[in-house]
């Protein structure tokens, strides 16, 4: 059966290399090759493969501008979100290729002989998803810091400035400002919850897909697994979209100048 943690294949100087890491490197190599090809043959009149890449990037940029609403900021956020989207998409879909999950080494574990697969989709490893979730939220905070400055960024969470400003409006406003101060502290916890939910959503979907496919391959053969493979294709695409779209929305909300308090 498939194990929750990614299995170690070998170690380099004490650092374990897992099978999902190997697949992540494969994904990186694919991207490097595509990137180098596009850069070498870039021109104002693209044809063939470059035309396809151009179409994808324009579609993604239009989508990003629709979400953010502001062309300038959309272009600033676009590289990170589009990279996340494409990389997660390729990583999810690698799990459907023949050979991933089935080519492996027989090993003795305890008393039974199990198969340790050599390849495994990178996003079915919790390490990978937590890493990109932390990276995405970290970049959102960095963008917020760079856009609206340190004071505005801090006063979103620790709203002392609001308390001082409310003194001149009367006692009712002071109480409201105190409540908003506590809400700001809760927002800090919500930031961690966002990281957790981003990573767990992606991990859960792709890992459950792996388990499902393993069980289906074990039970049936020939054409019967086909609908499940289509399901996995769809889920991989949807989860990549959700991750990238959420990152975009978080970046936008972090760099919005002081949100209007409910007046």
């Amino acid at each position: 059966m498939i194990s929750v943690a990614a299995e170690t294949i070998f170690t380099i100087a004490g650092f374990p290399i897992t099978n999902s890491m190997i697949n992540a490197w494969v994904g990186i190599v694919i991207f490097l090759i595509v990137g180098l090809i596009v850069r070498k043959k870039a021109s104002l009149t693209p044809r063939g493969f470059l035309n396809f890449v151009d179409y994808i990037i324009e579609a993604l940029l239009a989508q990003a501008e629709g979400v953010v609403g502001d062309r300038e900021r959309a272009r600033k956020f676009f590289p990170i979100c589009a990279t996340l989207f494409l990389f997660i998409l390729i990583s999810n879909w690698i799990g459907l290729l023949p050979g991933v999950g089935s080519i492996g080494i027989w090993e003795m574990e305890g008393t039974e002989r199990i198969l340790v697969p050599l390849f495994r989709p990178p996003t079915s490893d919790l390490n990978f998803t937590v890493a990109i979730a932390v990276f995405a939220m970290g970049m959102a905070h960095v963008f917020g810091l760079l856009s609206i400055g340190f004071v505005a960024y801090i006063s979103r969470f620790i709203n002392i400035r609001g308390i001082f400003q409310s003194f001149k409006h009367g006692p009712m406003a002071v109480i409201v400002a105190l409540v908003e101060f506590c809400v700001g502290l809760l927002e800090i916890i919500s930031e961690f919850a966002k990281v957790l939910s981003l990573s767990l959503r992606l991990f859960g979907n792709i890992f459950a897909g792996e388990v499902l496919l393993a069980v289906i391959y074990m039970l049936t053969t020939a054409i019967v697994p086909l609908p499940f493979i289509f399901l996995e294709l769809l889920i991989g695409a949807i989860q990549a979209t959700v991750f990238a779209m959420l990152t975009l929305v978080f970046m936008k909300s972090m760099s919005d100048s002081h949100e209007a308090h409910a007046e």
């Binding site: 194990s3 929750v4 989508q63 939910s197 767990l200 959503r201 991990f203 859960g204 979907n205 890992f207 459950a208 388990v211 949807i238 989860q239 979209t241 959700v242 779209m245």
Partner: protein, 76 residues
């Protein structure tokens, strides 16, 4: 009841019970989207992506429960 059977029961009940909430949620989202498309068929292209987004969020809660089930079954 020994620990092994309680572990199996726990992992089964965890995912079964917590699958109900997201299922209802996804159904509601879908029904509102269908209603919107019925009133305004041209908006179906605009409605698709937000609907999928909402469904992915609702499904995420079921996925959290699935992760707990997998932890109970395979790790504990």
């Amino acid at each position: 009841m020994d620990a092994e059977s309680i572990k199996m029961l726990a992992s089964a009940i965890a995912i079964a019970v917590s699958g109900m909430g997201p299922a209802i949620g996804i159904g509601l989202i879908g029904s509102k989207a269908m209603e919107g498309i019925g009133r305004n068929p041209e908006a179906s292209g605009k409605l698709l992506v937000p609907m999928l987004l909402g469904m992915a969020f609702a499904e995420a809660v079921a996925i959290y429960a699935l992760v707990v089930t997998l932890i109970i079954q395979f790790v504990l």
